[in-house]
Point group: C2
Chain length 138, copies 2
DNA sequence: GGTTGACTGAGAGTTACTCTCAAGTTTTAA
DNA sequence: TTAAAACTTGAGAGTAACTCTCAGTCAACC
């Protein structure tokens, strides 16, 4: 059993955020000890893990709560939960594509600046230098 | 030259956000026409592109403004800008790793539910079924 | 000449934290 | 054994980055 601080360290989520998530109803199974302190079980850690996963791919808290409520209802909601996970995965794949594109742009920019530095060139792409003839740039 | 609406469509950023970014000083070179309407040039579109890129990898607006201010200063800040782009790229690469991990978890979950559905099994991972013996699950 | 449609800025509202605080326990240290 | 340090708690204020609503201006069409 783990206190909120231990969970925060273990899972890489701040204590504040964990309390906020708890208040949002994301951990309906976390028990309190005799001093009203939350004690997270191993199973609860898995809930933290899946909540963290859903959040990190941009799922809204409202939708996460919905998913958790479906879990609470029980086995009759398995196919609905399956669809949610499927859709979330598709969204994550799209994000991967988008991130790749942005990485390409950052890579281009990096090499562009590198070239300017190594060859002591002017930044002809910068609008401040609009009057100057451009070298190969975005 | 493009109006804010056209830029919004072209770049996949809402008009609201573009106005917000403009007010934040992200487009210091966008001119207005005789009716006070913002007209974006091709160069301005590239600024939108780089701002969108920095935002999408989690760069704070304050830091974006700083980068833009460095651009305005001119060529003397090239090496500083180079460092910013390098650091941003590293952050993006980390995000890629994180996203891969989350995708793996979603993939596992997807297959897990698929197995439950196909074989008509109980969701023994769900804390609601804690009393039952677990099948292979997270 | 009146309505439609695009644009404007100001400002209120929203999401998801993030931080501060006072109050209660508990462990450590003198 | 008592005082201080180290936890935890919930309430509530603050923040970032939008997101939306609205009143007002202006040009263009019927």
């Amino acid at each position: 059993m783990y206190t909120i601080k231990e969970v925060a360290e273990k899972m890489g989520v701040s204590e504040h955020t964990l309390r906020f998530w708890a208040k949002s109803g994301f951990f309906p199974f976390v028990k309190r000890n005799e001093n009203n302190i939350r004690m997270f079980s191993e199973d609860d850690l898995n809930w933290v893990k899946i909540v963290k996963c859903l959040r990190s791919v941009g799922t809204e808290n409202k939708a996460i709560k919905k998913y958790i409520d479906l879990c609470i209802v029980g086995d009759s909601t398995i196919s609905e939960r399956y669809k949610i996970i499927q859709a979330t995965k598709q969204k994550a794949l799209q994000q991967m594509e988008e991130l790749k594109k942005q990485l390409d742009l950052l890579d281009f920019k990096e090499k562009f600046y590198q070239n300017l530095i190594e060859n002591n060139l002017e930044d002809t792409w910068n609008p401040m230098n609009q009057n100057k003839v451009k070298n190969k740039a975005v």
